[in-house]
Amino acid sequence: MIKFSNVCFAYEKTNILDNINFSINKGEFVAIVGRNGAGKTTLMKLFNGLLKPTSGNVNIANLDTKISKTSELAKHVGFLFQNPDRQICQNTVKAEIAFGLKCVLTDKGEIEKRCKDTMARFGLIGEKDPFSLSRGERQKVALASIIALSPKILVLDEPTTGLDYKECMHIMEIINELNQNGTTVIMVCHDMELVADFAQRVIVLGEGNILADASCKKVMVDADVLRSASLAPPQIAELAIRLGEDFEGILTLDEMTDKIESRCLS
């Protein structure tokens, strides 16, 4: 579905990404992590052709991003920017959601229906001005306008920045549900607790290179990799390490609760 082959990227003379190689299959949920300045946002922009590789190839749904139009790629890839205010461009929530739909659909009834469904799903009020809403609500509007297009691939650059816990969980539940229904999700995220809860696979970036590309379970207990990327493991993973071998591989609260219960019963 997605393939990066020998991808290098440089802004003028500054190398940002150096020989990146990976493939992502349909339906995967991949987290991309690394410190500020590691090249995460640059990598994300290569997914939808906003940036083209300086050398190497990026293939998305059998399209080479170097020679495909961004509008063509946008039919496959939904892209959520870190800051919703860079994305929102309409005066009402409904117009914002309809904006993308009007670019790909002509049937007015179908556009209306999709708008309605999407607003209901996100609990949004169509008449509101997006800029009168809180940061979390604006983030929801931006995400809703992308989901309305039902893209096969969802690329999210720190979707939960600036959100409170409730808003954060709501957004993540929607993303998780889409993933369960077959949408491929690629997400940059600083919050290791969220990564542990939702991602199956983690790609760790550092200084423009891939430091690790493995299952979430493996990366979260790899102290060397985490340290080199200035990341802290989730609390539960750290606790599991302290508790010893029998708790190996436990990352989430539910897993830990079940494990302790089984140790009490046995």
């Binding site: 600036g162 816990y165 606790l239």
Partner: protein
């Protein structure tokens, strides 16, 4: 240092109070963490301290807020800003200069600090915060964490007694967020500055704050030492505020009738808890 007496505030055009019935006092040298959902009234609380309310936002102001012995309603914004330094979430929004040194000088010159004192203040603050090497850098070339350090330094150079910060780490990675909190702790311990910080990262608050306020739906919901407040995992869950995972673990275990002791808020305490229940 700060007294809230029956304080309530309703923004003009708003139908209900942003904050209601706040009664509390904040001691000199305290380190207060504030958490709550968006729209709960956290920013309003900080605005009441730095005088943005009622001097910038209009509305109905009830009760009193006393900062260093003066009623904020009667104090001018410039008097208040000498006592209370403010740092906002939007880092770029509060920068006024293009070079780090100028950013620090801006406040000092505007507040009429004597000319022969200024150089010393600039050198001291940069040294204390550990960003001497950034002095002549262009702000646009700095990372988010570096920029936030500069923003805080520019405010601290004015030697305020109180520092109010509204989600200063929202845009920062975990490493930079930790550095900012280490910096706040240093300012609190070495300079005795009273810190009041709104923050969503509960792990940082549980480690650094001496007192934690949870604001929910316009009122103070919980108020106490982090060890006490975070133990109330049931109450926190009810209003949808995050708590450390190990505290939630204790809650899960108690629901399954495995554990009913003290709630841990860090890894070491959690390990002790688990070892006490497993065979």
């Amino acid at each position: 240092m700060i007294e809230f007496k029956n304080f309530s505030f309703k923004y003009k055009k708003s139908e209900k109070n942003a904050l209601s019935g706040v009664n509390l006092s904040i001691k000199k040298g305290d380190f207060i963490g504030i958490i709550g959902n968006s729209g709960a009234g956290k920013s309003t609380f900080t605005y009441a301290i730095n005088g943005v309310i009622p001097h910038h936002f209009e509305g109905d102001f009830y009760g009193e807020v006393i900062v260093k012995g003066s009623d904020t309603v009667d104090s001018s914004p410039s008097e208040l800003s000498l006592n209370v330094g403010s740092v906002f979430q939007d880092i770029d929004g509060q920068m006024v200069s293009s070079v780090v040194e100028d950013e620090i000088l801006f406040g000092l010159e505007n507040f009429g600090i004597p000319h022969d004192e200024i150089e010393q203040r600039v050198t001291d603050i940069l040294k204390m915060v550990g960003i001497e090497d950034l002095r002549y850098r262009n702000i646009s070339t700095l990372s988010g964490g570096q920029k936030q350090k500069v923003a805080i330094s520019a405010v601290v150079a004015l030697m305020p007694d109180i520092l109010v910060l509204d989600e200063p780490t929202a845009e920062l990675d975990p490493q930079s967020s930790l550095q900012i909190f280490n910096m706040l702790r240093m300012l609190n311990e070495k300079m005795g500055i009273t810190i009041i910080v709104v923050e969503q990262k509960i792990m940082l608050l549980s480690e650094f704050a001496k007192r934690l306020l949870i604001i929910n739906d316009g009122s103070i919901y919980l108020d106490g030492a982090p060890q006490e407040v975070l133990k109330d995992t049931v109450a926190l869950k009810q209003i949808g505020v995050n708590c450390p995972r190990v505290a939630s673990l204790a809650n899960n275990l108690s629901e399954r009738k495995i554990y009913n002791g003290a709630v841990p808020i860090n890894i070491v305490e959690a390990e002790t808890m688990v070892r006490s229940v497993i065979k």
